[in-house]
């Protein structure tokens, strides 16, 4: 379904310095710095998989998502999604994908949600029957019937996010990218969104790629976890592999054991691996520190 092979991407950014004289100097000559966002990234994802794509801030998560969704062209490497090269057959490609950005809205601010949906129907050329069927399904699963007639600006964050998710699925995409879909949501909305995603995956075999910092999202949704740091894939496996990695590292490097224990806030390594949920953040923090990717 999705394959990425040896993908590299780098950016050039202007250096900014402090101090009045430095600023004056840079007025005339500006130095640049090359940042390697992705260094030889390869992985493949099968249809119907639910993959958590995690890593610290600035690790290259969003660059990967942008390349997969056809927004960015990589410097080198190959990438195919459903047999297509995303940035070459952009129009065809984007019809097959849905993207939710937790921090940005795709709904029009001042008009009722349903009108945004209608416009999306036109944009994606969804037939009337398909649209009505899908809308009915989404309305029921996400409990949207009460809020469809409300302008977006009057919705609470949780309501809005449910609408965002629905908006990304109106054209029945086969792949769904979720970028921090539960950020800032209350417990009830979080659970609703997570349950919904799982249901979509079960019923429509939608492939889901989730990037988030919320480890509970990962735990609830992702069957497989890909860990990226400093532009490189560091781990590709199950959540249990991730836990083992954190412990394994500890076992391999006992002089750092204290760090992990402190970071994890638990008394012994045993419970670090065994306990789930609450301590996942600590596991991650410890792992990031071990791998030195912060």
């Amino acid at each position: 379904m999705i394959t990425m092979e040896h993908v590299c991407k780098s950016y050039k950014v202007a250096k900014r310095k402090a101090g009045l004289s430095e600023v004056c100097k840079s007025f005339f000559r500006r130095e640049h710095e090359v940042i390697h966002a992705l260094k030889d990234v390869s992985f493949s994802i099968k249809e119907g998989e639910m993959v958590g794509y995690i890593g610290p801030n600035g690790a290259g998560k969003s660059s990967t998502i942008k390349i997969l969704s056809g927004i960015l062209t990589p410097d080198s490497g190959t990438c195919t999604v459903d047999g297509r090269i995303p940035w070459k057959n952009r129009t065809e490609h984007v019809k097959q994908i849905g993207v939710v950005f937790g921090q940005r809205s795709q709904l029009w601010w001042d008009i009722p949600v349903i009108d945004s949906f209608e416009l999306l129907k036109e944009i994606y050329s969804v037939s009337k029957e398909n649209y009505n069927r899908k809308l009915e399904e989404l309305t029921e699963l996400l409990q949207l019937s009460e809020i469809l007639k409300t302008p977006t600006r009057q919705l609470s964050l949780g309501q809005r996010m449910r609408c965002e998710v629905a908006a990304s699925l109106l054209h029945e995409p086969r792949i769904l990218f979720l970028d921090e879909p539960t950020i800032g949501l209350d417990a009830v909305s979080k659970l609703a969104v997570r349950d919904f995603i799982k249901k979509m995956n079960r019923e429509h075999k939608t492939t889901v790629i989730l990037t988030t910092h919320d480890m509970q999202d990962i735990e609830a949704i992702a069957e497989r976890v890909i860990l990226i740091g400093k532009g490189q894939i560091l781990l590709d496996g199950t959540l249990q592999d991730l836990r083992n990695a954190a412990i394994g590292e500890t076992a391999d490097a006992p002089e750092n054991a204290g760090n992990i224990t402190i970071g994890a806030g638990v008394s012994d390594e045993e419970s670090l691996g065994a306990q789930s949920g609450i301590n996942l953040d600590h596991v991650m923090a410890a792992l990031y520190k071990k791998l030195d990717i912060m």
């Binding site: 900014r16 009045l20 600023v23 004056c24 840079s26 007025f27 500006r30």
Partner: protein, 267 residues
Amino acid sequence: MRKYYMFFKVRFASGLQYRMASITALTTQLIWGIMECFAFKAIAEAMGTGLPMEYSSIVTYIWLKEAFLALFSTWTGDKDIFSLIQNGGVSYELCRPVSVYSMWFARIVGGRGSEALLRCIPVLICAFLLPGTLRMSLPVSIEAFVLFLVTLVLAVGVAVALCMFVNMLCFFTISPQGWRMVLLGSADFFMGNVIPLPFFPERFRKVVEWLPFPYMQNVPFRVYSGDLPVADLGPVMAKQVLWLVILVAAGLCTWKFVEKKIVVQGG
């Protein structure tokens, strides 16, 4: 004093950081000024002896206008204050132990002043170096230059006081941006930004002179080039002071109302 130096330094540095922006602004202003000079040259040739202002005075007026755009342009300097009005952040300002009116007044003056200082130097240098009839001339006399500076300060006072008054009025409407546009957009014309006031027909000008607008940039820019003779300046400056007092008083009175409204309604 150190506080002001730091404030200025930060603004200066952030102004320089946007290299393209400063070059863009300078180029724009130069093109603007040169085009205006050309247009008035053609107008001067067509009007002949009927020209109400000497051509060299017009050129100087145009360049001073470009150089000190930030001081008088109705849009600069109070963006953050305006957004405070729009999104209700004004309640926080009330918590500070200073008079809100004078604090905002100082902030606008500071904002416009530093912006103008940053912008005027390159514009003036270019204006003095331009060839032939496009070149800006020196002030006609030392007295004229001193009075230019004095009336410039008064003019900025009047302009900022008017701006403050409009800002205060904005509290009473649900569409502050719209009102501001209507009020300040028309001020631009009466100030002499589109054409210098001597080009207004006699009768129209008589009416306009009863308004505060001609006591802003119109006075200092014309004093500089000698179009407004130093000898006639007494009553003009008196009116500048008068308008400054009236507008500050009006702004303060409105602020008292606003304050009451905020306290009662909670922003």
